[in-house]
Symmetry: C2
Subunit: 317 residues, 2 copies
């Protein structure tokens, strides 16, 4: 029998991939998006499926959240301000889009009797972690970005709603994701620079920042695997591969894929921007214990992303 | 030279005690309170001091926060919904009063150029801690109450504002506080029950919950000590004594102080209410390293509280 799922941020990179997966698995899916960053063309297949219903609305409006949660069993709460880098330019945006919206979703779930939530959290909640690779029960971190703070706030309320109202929760702390429908982050920044001027590339920080990435389909597989096997009330999983790369490695792979050898300049400094974490590497033993493992390496995920961008964002010239 | 300080929740238990202390130390003080739970009589001395200015306003209104922060160097952000026990009866209140209000205060500080914040956080952010006594860098907890979640959210944004905007922050994680002007919590609950019917006392949970308490003047001394000595950007301190007691111990001390021997009944269960933490005991080595130590034991603080309540809440009969 099919169960109705709600996907928030359904027209985004992660949300739209989950929508397609749930429809493929035979579920009824309600999607909600305000299309502030979501893209309608990511929903082309879904919109042709009678089991999919799209709500165009802003989750900051409690009434919209309440409408979306009608008859829903499980919520995949993927809607977020995912613009990590410019947090300090608009200090209250992360609070509104990530913390406040999550509270609205939880309230709608409580009042509608929805049973489960899966939440897109982030390795950024670990700040500059003292333990690397960083496990889920790392020492209490100090938040270094408004984005991380807002996701920590959202996680905290999800846990309290689980304890107070019996909602089962799955908090997934993602590393940066790559792959088809990837629309923001360093690979697209570099890709656009090189499309504009193939002979040179400017890099924020010193290029030695060490980062982790995960391929989008591996990420969604991990979520589904965790949710299929656990009966715990609160479930927290790091999602990533068991490797990391330097920004310079990533640049080399992108350039090789594009057949370019640009001159590279560095802004300098260990951080690319305020709150940038110069070393992100998560301990993923817990999710691996479910039997899941990633199918693509970071290098393969970067290459797959560049292929997608060449098709999706062709040269304007 | 005097410096202007802002105390939010200035008519509350902790806030009013800080106001008196700052005035005694020769500072100019602005206090803000919406008097939803604050008491004007706690400000009798302050209101007679020309260095004190009172704003009656709700910090949920960003304009009120902005007005309050004018010309302010240091903010003691004590305003909060401190009603831990009934969180699930009004699920969004902790978010609004503790998380949202803290964001408003931080925004006002950023726009006004205020330099430092001291924040009243709580040992509740550790949930049911796995490490006891619990240090400041305990393993990342799972939140078990809306109150704890809202304080965790507030702490996270304070840290991110410190990183992003250079505000120095002092996060103080209190155990339960006792002493003069104490107006809610288990001692007042038991006191009122016994005033109503001196022959019997009903206790939530099994009476074996182990809790920690700190005397209000010891708490304020610890805050002042920490803020006088640290030049770190983000400072986090547990504040408590190096002991704990059972609820049953506390009952015995209260009854002895009142000269009563009531029949005691128990609701049963390891928790007094949803999200109640059956064992709170914080590691206070970090604040002790500043040279601070408490002057009263838990027993003495309970006795002092009962003496205060006898004077402050005399029998209605």
């Amino acid at each position: 029998m099919s169960v109705r799922h709600l996907v928030t941020g359904c027209a985004g990179f992660v949300g739209s991939t989950i929508v397609d997966r749930l429809l493929r698995d035979g579920h009824d899916v309600v999607g909600i998006d305000d299309f502030s960053t979501g893209r309608e063309d990511f929903l082309t297949a879904a919109l042709a499926n009678p089991r999919f219903r799209l709500l165009r609305a802003d989750l900051l409006d409690p009434a919209a959240s309440f409408e979306a949660a009608e008859g829903v069993d499980t919520v995949f709460h993927m809607a977020a301000n995912a613009d990590v880098r410019f947090g300090t330019d608009h200090p209250t945006r992360d609070f509104e889009q990530n913390a406040r919206v999550t509270l609205n979703v939880l309230e709608a779930m409580r009042r509608r009797g929805a049973r489960r939530i899966a939440f897109a959290s982030t390795g950024s909640i670990y700040g500059e972690a003292k333990v690397i690779p960083t496990p889920e029960d790392a020492p209490l971190p100090i938040q270094t970005s408004l984005y991380g703070a807002s996701k920590m706030a959202a996680e905290s309320f999800i846990e309290a709603y689980s304890e107070g109202f019996g909602i089962q929760s799955f908090v997934f702390r993602f590393v940066s994701l790559l792959g088809e429908r990837y629309t923001h982050g360093h690979v697209v920044d570099f890709f656009r620079q090189l499309r504009e001027h193939p002979d040179r590339l400017h890099v924020l920080g010193d290029g030695k920042q060490r980062k982790s990435y995960l391929y989008i389909f591996d990420c969604v597989d991990a979520m589904m695997q965790a949710m299929a096997t656990s009966s715990e009330r609160v479930n927290i999983y790091n999602l990533g591969t068991d490797e990391y790369c330097e920004v310079n490695d990533s640049i080399a792979w992108i350039c090789e894929e594009l057949g370019l050898r640009p001159a590279i300049t560095y802004a300098g400094g260990r951080q690319g921007w305020i709150g940038d974490n110069p070393f992100i590497f998560l301990d993923t033993a817990r999710i691996r214990a479910t039997g899941w493992k990633p199918t693509l390496s970071i290098r393969q995920a970067v290459e797959r992303t560049v292929k997608f961008l060449r098709e999706f964002e062709p040269s304007v010239s």
